[in-house]
Amino acid sequence: MDLTVVWFWVIAAFFIGYFVLDGFDFGVGMSLPFLGRDDTDRRVLINTIGPVWDLNETWVIVAGAMLFAAFPEWYATLFSGFYLPLLLILVALILRGVSFEYRHQRPEKSWKRRFDAMIVFGSAVPALLWGVAFANIVHGVPLDENHDFIGSILDLLNPYALLGGLTTLLLFFTHGIVFIALKTDGTIRARARTLATRSGIITALLAVAFLGWTVIEHGTGAVVILAIVTAVLLVSAILTNVLGREGLAFTGMAATIAGAVLTLFTALFPAVMPARNDPANSLTIANASSTPYTLEVMSWIALFAVPLILLYQGWTYWVFRKRVSRDHIPEDVDAHAAA
């Protein structure tokens, strides 16, 4: 098989991994004002992702590095063309990451509130902008004959991309709330389930609109089928949440996100960066990829490494499988240690 085709789907798989995993981190981050009634609540919420947010975030670094190695032209055009949205994503991820680590370092309320705000901002911004970015990739942007982006930031803020951004924002929000219902106990768990149902309905409306628009633009057979499957998965996830089947609801949300990413990549294939102004300027898997040699050595290494990665990351999730509740949160020791 042509390795460029294989690597197109490898890249898709890494972005699926990233959005499924960091997606619920974003949702948990955004949930603080909705589910965190006091500091103990907020600490419960943050501790549900405490041991894993870093490994989840690393998926984007790996996806980016794989993209660089396998499709340098795609990487170069995408990252330079979407400069300002990516800058915002970077700043958001920086603020979110340090906030997890710094918020518990001091006992003062004002200190914690500041980092809580940064966690909310740092989670909502990437959740929105990743959707805008991927919708734009599928939608196409103006490129010159060297495949450089020649549009302005306004070209990236078209209605289809904005709808895509709102869809991922809500999708990750609901994904995170469902994750909280699965990982906490007591009143937070109950409130999370109620909230997940409400946000799930809005998510479903947005997702159906976005998937429908995608089908209208790229209505090949496979895209239609995947879009329908994704919508069905989302509705089942919401229904299982209503029925209180938390594990199933979370699995359903993860599958929905995977389905949505697959729908977009299928709509994109075999282009990787379609030029809206002139199809001749488009980047495809053929003219954006690395040499067969580089793809081949990368394939062998990925074949060796990926099963190992899935194994030890799966084990990590198993180690931290227990629910977190208010009883687990110790009193703020720092308040006494200062003396």
């Binding site: 190695a69 970077l90 990451g97 040699y293």
Partner: protein, 469 residues
């Protein structure tokens, strides 16, 4: 106004600032991971509680620092595409592979096992929990190898062919790329230097407490450990730096000439090394200098009568090969950064040796200046690390990939100066304020000192141990 909005100049400033900033946190991540792992191993093997205290104490500093290393690292990867898209297109087939290997084989390990270590104290058996910090430590070192191998391609491009039609470099052998002689020398040099910085931190912090007569039981072994680590890693850094300069003379003779501001080719006694020079910054007019004859010849060729090529001769030769242009880096930067790197490194080894002598057989020096010198170990070793990177990266100029691609040809053609200015300002503001927060948090952790360990382990609620944040 135009000159303030040159995307090339702004992108270079941004890359320089964000990379130097990132590398303030990397050495501590690499060195402290192993040092904390050693403390924890001693505790597990001997049951000595002061080593558990040291593990928690330096572990806390390690984690405050670790978070910054992680989040600033993402910027590094994104920046190649954002600001240097033509560079990414030119080298992606070659340069992307080590980055992808780093991410797959090392970064995932590091990010996963650090979480297991932080949250796993009461969820994992003692031996397994100890293994998680060792996996983290090994992963940080492996990660450094791939990054340095990628960087070595920029210093000494090998294992590629040029595809004229596509206008890019293409990888011919991954094995050869990873065995770049520059990488083989730069990797141990950098890792030893990371351990010097981390030893500097251990020494500074221990000295701060000992000078005040605080926490003597825990801090005395920490000081000893830090001093020994400094001496050993200092010797390793110097030895490997010597190997690196030999490889550098082969690959980038201009950089070595620029390190000494040697304009005309010299041999033997004339190939002297100036310890200190007063004169015009470009090194052309010398007022006063302290020189060691033969030393430059010895450093560059390992022979007393060796010949070291001067800037003017290399410049003439390069014009013959690459066409008209200026092929020398900014001389005052390379000259002074090289001296500060070596000078600070040597001072550290001397301070550590003297420190070991003064604290022999449990002695505690009374002279406050001894403690002051020890406390300055950390900031000064971090400075040595930074000027070392400034030397090696500024010394590569005007090339982005030596001999293949100039820095000015690598910048993103589609990104405007205003856009880069916005991001440069954004990074400066975010990084600047985070530096203040991080510095204060580390100071707070240092001043608080090691927390006492409750020997009655059952007194705490088991449920209270599974959350950290």
């Amino acid at each position: 106004m135009e000159q303030f909005l040159d995307p090339l100049v702004l992108s270079r400033w941004q890359f320089g600032l964000t990379t130097l900033y990132h590398f303030l946190f990397v050495p501590l991540t690499i060195g402290l991971a192993t040092i904390v792992a050693i403390f924890q191993t001693v505790w597990v093997r001997t049951g000595k509680l002061e080593y558990l205290q040291l593990t928690h104490f330096y572990g806390k500093i390690f984690l405050i620092n670790f978070a910054m290393g992680v989040v600033t690292g993402i910027v590094q990867e994104f920046q190649f595409g954002m600001n240097w898209s033509d560079y990414s297109r030119f080298v992606g087939d070659v340069f992307g592979a080590p980055l992808a290997l780093e991410a797959l084989l090392a970064f995932f390990l590091e990010a996963t096992f650090i979480g297991l270590w932080i949250f796993g104290w009461d969820r994992l058996p003692r031996g397994l929990h100890l293994a998680t910090i060792w996996v983290t430590a090994v992963a940080t070192v492996v990660s450094a190898y791939f990054i340095i191998a990628a960087n070595a391609f920029m210093q000494n491009p090998i294992a590629y062919t040029i595809n004229e039609e596509k206008g890019r470099a293409e990888l011919t052998s991954l094995g050869e790329l990873l065995a770049n002689p520059i990488a083989l020398a730069a990797f141990p040099h950098t890792i030893f230097a990371c351990f010097m910085v981390s030893a500097g931190l251990v020494i500074s912090v221990a000295a701060w407490h000992l000078a005040r007569g605080k926490n003597i039981e825990t801090m005395r072994p920490a000081l000893k450990f830090g001093l020994w680590t400094m001496v050993i890693s200092g010797a390793g850094t110097a030895l490997m730096g010597d190997q690196l300069s030999l490889a550098m003379v082969e690959a980038q003779p201009m950089k070595m000439a620029a390190a000494e501001a040697l304009y005309t080719t010299a041999s033997g006694a004339d190939a002297s090394f100036s310890i200190f020079t007063l004169g015009t910054p470009d090194g052309v007019h010398e007022l006063f200098s302290v020189r060691v004859p033969y030393l430059l010849a010895l450093l560059s060729t390992h022979s007393l009568d060796g010949t070291v090529e001067g800037i003017n001769d290399i410049q003439a030769a390069y014009q013959g090969v690459f066409g008209p242009g200026d092929y020398a880096p900014i001389i005052w930067i390379t000259y002074w950064s090289f001296r500060w790197m070596i000078g600070l490194g040597v001072v550290h080894i001397v301070v550590a040796v003297v420190g070991l002598w003064l604290t022999r057989k449990g002695r505690m020096p009374k002279n406050p200046w001894v403690w002051r010198a020890a406390i300055w170990s950390f900031p000064a070793s971090l400075l040595a690390m930074s000027v070392g990177w400034i030397f090696t990266e500024m010394g590569r100029q005007p090339w982005l990939v030596f001999g293949l691609l100039k820095t000015e040809d690598g910048v993103s053609p589609g990104v405007s100066g205003l856009t880069v200015l916005i991001s440069l300002v954004a990074f400066t503001l975010v990084y600047g304020s985070l530096a203040v927060v991080e510095f204060r948090l580390i100071l707070k952790a240092v001043h608080a000192g090691p927390e006492p360990i409750s020997t009655d382990d059952d007194s705490r609620e088991p449920a209270a141990r599974v959350t950290v944040y």
